[in-house]
């Protein structure tokens, strides 16, 4: 197990370096970042000055080395637009994002488990068809459109909830529900199908023969195995939550990571955008690592496979 963890850790470090290289290349893919920052009023000397400031006058391997050592030391540069260290900006925005993402995740998971199980146990019934309908709709409607329509209905027409920004609990309702709805359908489909598989298995039949109550069979014995399926897609779930958060934060002017990255892109503030992408990439790798280790912990077979 220790050996497995060490190998996986090393692989993660290698992957991180690979991603750093990729990000480095993508940011410089246009050729010269100094030119894209310069406006028509800049003279040739100004552009040269920008190059020196950004370290672009050095050779490519040298630039990459500086980039990597800075990142390792936690120095992600300074925002071109706000003239603040980007780590400071991210530090300020991250708690806001978490305040949005964590409750949305909880809402989506609970909803997905409840509806998925109800759909599976009442297969092809009225409720199941309703659940399927929600899933189809949820996957077809773009998240931002749902958010805009929700604002129109609940904030503009009925004036029940605030349209945007941070604030009391009422400020959370719309963003959390729309972000939750963004993730819920996919999860629900997964829970439903894995629940159907589990309900078909031998041990559930045994539980029925033993005469356990149906409620106990479903919510205790079957559910425990059916929740593993959504866990296997934890990585993809994370990607969806981040994507959703970027969109929902923009619609609701919620000052989180997604909001500042969109601002950063529109202002072409590449140190900021680059820093956020690196941060998310590290999260992605960290989650992958955790998922792998927990698998190996649950299922010893994985430990002994080639790593």
């Amino acid at each position: 197990m220790v050996r497995f963890i060490i190998i996986r850790l090393l692989q993660t470090v290698v992957a991180l370096i690979g991603i750093a290289m990729l990000i480095f290349v993508l940011v410089r893919v246009s050729g010269d970042p100094a030119l894209m920052l310069a406006s028509a009023t800049h003279t040739a000397e100004d552009i040269q000055q920008i190059r020196v400031n950004l370290g672009l006058d050095k050779s490519i391997p040298e630039q990459f080395w500086i980039f990597v050592t800075d990142v390792v030391q936690g120095d992600l540069g300074e925002s071109l637009f706000k003239k603040k260290p980007v780590t400071e900006m991210i530090g300020a925005a991250l708690p806001n994002s978490l305040r949005l993402i964590v409750p949305s995740w909880a809402v989506a998971m609970l909803g997905a488990l409840l509806l998925g199980v109800l759909g599976a146990t009442r297969r092809d019934g009225f409720l199941d068809n309703g659940v399927k309908f929600i899933a189809i709709l949820g996957q077809a409607l773009p998240g931002f459109w749902v958010a805009i329509v929700a604002v129109f209905i609940f904030s503009v027409t009925w004036q029940l909830l605030p349209t945007s920004g941070l604030g009391g609990i009422d400020h959370y309702v719309l963003p959390v529900c729309t972000l939750g709805f963004f993730v819920l359908p996919g999860m629900m489909r997964l829970v439903r199908s894995s629940m159907l598989d589990v309900l078909d298995s031998e041990y559930i039949k045994l539980a029925r023969i033993k005469g356990l109550s149906e409620r106990r069979i479903i919510w205790k014995h079957a559910l425990r195995n059916a929740v593993i399926a959504p866990l296997t897609v934890a990585g993809m779930l994370f990607a969806m939550l981040i994507t959703g958060a970027v969109i929902i934060e923009t619609v609701f002017s919620w000052p989180g990571i997604g909001f500042i990255i969109v601002e950063g892109v529109l202002a072409r503030d590449f140190p900021l955008v680059q820093a956020i992408v690196i941060m998310v990439a590290s999260f992605v790798l960290g989650i992958n690592l955790l998922v792998d280790i927990s698998y190996a912990w649950i299922d010893p077979q994985i430990r002994y496979q080639r790593t």
Binding site: W145, F152, V156, T243
Partner: protein
């Protein structure tokens, strides 16, 4: 001749006889309606104008999608009292015809999706077959990259590219493709692993076929069905991704009409001019649902094993 995998032969026939009359009609409908909608959208995209035939003034779109006309701004759809049949679905805040923008938007959204599907399915299939057939370190390495790519939000890559290259059609296609191949690679690798165990592959190897030949002539023909299914199921996802990017201002740059940036145009006007955001929203939902239903139908028809897709 490459031999067919007998396994998929026997399971590929869905059980229809057990279905009730109503269920059979539903099954028919889930094929006819999506295919009609998708065909209409494709016709709209192709014949929005005939500039590609040298006839820019002839086409389905009644107006130039980027032509502004401030006196006509914010006109409601024709059934509204203030609307007129000049602009069937109304106009936006710059007086541009919504219907024309919708039709040209179909061209942009569908061509982004088509290009991305072609690029990602090719890369994903090549890597998936290579990984699945060769195994060992190649496979471990490829699968690691695949896992990471699947967990990485494509929207962030798009933003990175939009910052360095500026938002454009090429940026969008590149950004979505950069991670999009992973879904194909994972599925095709799984299929290849399954096929590799089969007798016909072993027989080919005994005859002395080279690995390249086995992959091309024996494995590849047998992954075409899952490939087609996942390509169809990807349409919806791609349309939504492109729309989201354009909505955030990192996709198709205005004034070019894309469904995503049309929704963005109407975002702050939902209370006074609901039609600006609503029609592109409906268009997206229709295409995505059609793509998903058609994909599901294809899957049931071609390869019901792949239920989890």
């Amino acid at each position: 001749m490459p031999e067919k995998a007998s396994d998929s032969e026997t399971t590929a026939r869905p059980v229809v006889s057990g279905l009730s009359r109503r269920a059979r009609i539903m099954r028919r409908l889930t094929f006819i309606v999506p295919v009609t909608i998708l065909s209409l959208m494709i016709i709209m995209a192709i014949f929005a104008d005939l500039a590609w035939l040298g006839l820019p003034d002839v086409g389905l779109a009644p107006y130039d999608p980027v032509k502004m006309s401030l006196p006509d701004r914010l006109m409601p759809p024709f059934w509204d009292e203030e609307g007129s049949t000049e602009h069937l679905l109304g106009t936006d805040k710059m007086g541009r015809d919504i219907l024309s923008r919708l039709i040209f938007g179909a061209r942009i959204s569908l061509s982004v999706s088509l290009l991305v599907i072609l690029i990602t399915s090719f890369v994903g299939t090549v890597l998936g077959i290579l990984g699945g057939y060769l195994g060992g370190r190649t496979e471990a390495f490829l699968m690691r990259i695949t896992d990471i790519s699947l967990a990485f939000p494509p929207i962030l890559v798009a933003m990175l590219l939009a910052v360095s290259m500026g938002p454009s059609f090429v940026t969008v296609v590149l950004a979505i493709s950069l991670l999009g191949w992973a879904a194909y690679a994972r599925l095709i690798r799984g299929e290849t692993l399954r096929l590799r165990q089969m007798d016909f592959v072993a027989q080919a190897r005994i005859i002395g076929a080279s690995p390249l030949r086995i992959m091309l002539r024996h494995i590849f023909p047998n992954v075409i069905n899952p490939l087609i299914i996942i390509m169809t199921l990807q349409i919806g996802l791609l349309i939504i991704t492109e729309a989201s990017l354009s909505f955030l201002g990192v996709g198709i740059p205005p004034p070019a009409p894309s469904w995503g940036n049309m929704i963005n145009d109407g975002r702050n006007l939902v209370d006074t001019a609901w039609w600006i955001s609503t029609f592109p929203g409906i268009a997206i939902a229709l295409v995505v649902m059609s793509g998903n239903f058609f994909g599901d139908w294809l899957r049931d028809k071609l390869d019901p094993r792949l239920r989890q897709l």
